[in-house]
Symmetry: C2
Subunit: 117 residues, 2 copies
């Protein structure tokens, strides 16, 4: 459980930056070299490499160097884990609203019975 929690810390931290989200969005279209990844971003290559390191540490991205080209690809597992965590919270909130709805119905039908007495 601790490992999963730490993994979620790193994943959400990696997603909390517009440049890293933009890099990730680009990578979901397919694997890309670092220089292609840097092209749409108005920042230096070292800055891009630093963001890439955060993405790799979180497990959202893997990269591999063949010759002089480093190719990056998305790792969908970390993304799914983050999505699942949010989805579970949304479902729990939905259950809370259902319970509240049921409770209000009980109050209403109780009031009607009381009214019919």
């Amino acid at each position: 459980m601790l490992n999963r929690s730490h993994a979620l810390d790193l994943t959400f931290q990696a997603l909390a930056d517009p440049a890293r989200r933009s890099m990730l969005a680009q990578l979901t279209h397919g694997p890309t070299s670092v220089s292609e990844l840097a092209r749409p971003l108005s920042m230096s290559l070292p800055a891009v490499m630093q963001h890439l390191a955060v993405l790799e540490e979180s497990g959202l991205v893997r990269s591999e160097k063949v010759g002089r080209i480093r190719t990056c690809r998305v790792e969908p597992h970390a993304l799914s884990m983050a999505e699942q965590w949010i989805n579970d919270r949304r479902l729990e909130w939905g259950r809370h609203l259902d319970r509240l709805g049921e409770y209000l119905k009980t109050l209403k039908s109780g009031g009607e019975q009381h009214g019919n007495e």
Copy 2:
């Protein structure tokens, strides 16, 4: 777009901490006072208030003080926005895999045609 991007920064940043995720998970069961929210966490009340401030700044949580009691409730919109962003990336990745599958099929049928010549 800039506003949405900044909102995503704050939301993912807020989610990147186990104590804040735990507070949010508790709040999806229904509105709660700050002291109830602090009970399962092994930290001081000022530390809890600080985490609550981050959750409120991100728009994930709202709180209201009535008399001496501050009650917190989840705001599902920010959670949905973060979920939607991740979901869009996953869908795009799925489309990439589909395109790759189609391309491989083309290569295979091309090879078969070549073999029949």
